[in-house]
Symmetry: C2
Subunit: 184 residues, 2 copies
DNA sequence: ACCTGAACACCGTTCAAGT
DNA sequence: ACCTGAACACCGTTCAAGT
């Protein structure tokens, strides 16, 4: 039951993208970790964009599954949103990394179209879920507010990462709640 | 009165970083634009980090000057903050680019220390100015709120850039005001 | 079916050499 | 003082060749 090489490649590449971005993702580095030659990666992912798109697609699917799990665990909107913001905290906990699609968003101009499309889909999935939570809580303009919360969380992650200090993330998110952006 | 080569290099490099980031900044591309060979860039900026730090330093200084100009133009906190969020809108207007220090923040792990330090200073200058505006407006926890606003604006820029749609930025910022994050 | 070595045009960097 | 050509080790990609 040896592990699928394709899976091993994706597992090695994911944290690399979260730390160094798409442009910083190196086939030769992945190859070293996986134990193959860099040319072999191209057998599983013809071009770098194919790997990037596969990573972003799975990241979004995993997020969607996590959202469902949160919704199943609690019906309280405030608690659901706490679990939501905690989810983005995880990346920072894991070696000051970023949300995979967050760092990809910054690299927009250098992304193949397939990767760009997955980044947009990640946003759509996030906004749709947050909007549902908000509207169930009776928040007006739930869709617009959800997009604002999604964007704000990405910004909090960016600010915390630039200082290499996860407490910066916590403080910013707390301010979002105190100011009324995120229902508390 | 021929233009200083060092200045020409910085002028060429700035929009490149705002579009492609630090890692996407190419000495050979700069050289083509400036009309010299890539090796010549190293005469003015020994390493890429020296150029990156110089760009971030000037970007911060320019921002500080712009903040002073805003404060001199109007005393109304809401108007000052409108001018502030408009400032970040400019980068998006200019070819869907990002705040130079915003895109650098995403690349934190691959930045030389001198560049990292300038990115942090940009944040400090922003937060200090916004905090002053907020405290004059009687907002409590002005420092924390200023950091939250700064982060949120960065996130709005990131979200808008990922969709290549400046109206996304406008909508998010409007939501920030509607929710009470930014005094309106 | 899966992997590799070698080549290609890119990259930042270095340095001896030019003017 | 300022610039350059050539070399170095990197990069993604391609492809003929292996098993």
């Amino acid at each position: 039951m040896n592990t699928d090489t394709r899976e091993t490649i994706m597992a090695a590449a994911k944290p690399m993208v979260q730390a160094h971005g798409y442009s910083g993702l190196s086939f030769r580095e992945i190859a070293k970790t996986v134990g193959v030659k860099s040319a072999s990666i191209h057998y599983h992912f013809p071009a770098k964009g194919d790997l990037g798109a596969a990573l972003a697609r799975r990241y979004t699917d995993d997020a969607a599954a996590a959202f469902e799990a949160i919704a199943a665990r609690t019906a309280d909107p405030a608690k659901r949103l706490h679990a939501y913001t905690d989810g983005f905290r995880l990346a920072l906990e894991n070696g000051n990394r970023m949300c995979l699609c967050g760092i990809l968003a910054a690299e927009h101009d250098d992304l193949p179209d397939a990767v760009k499309a997955e980044v947009v889909r990640f946003g759509d999935v996030n906004v749709a879920w947050v909007a549902k939570v908000l509207s169930e809580a009776g928040v007006k303009d739930a869709e617009a507010r959800a997009l604002a919360i999604f964007a704000a969380i990405g910004g909090a992650q960016l600010a915390a990462r630039s200082r290499g200090d996860i407490t910066v993330y916590d403080g910013i998110v707390e301010s979002y709640r105190a100011a009324g952006l995120i229902p508390a």
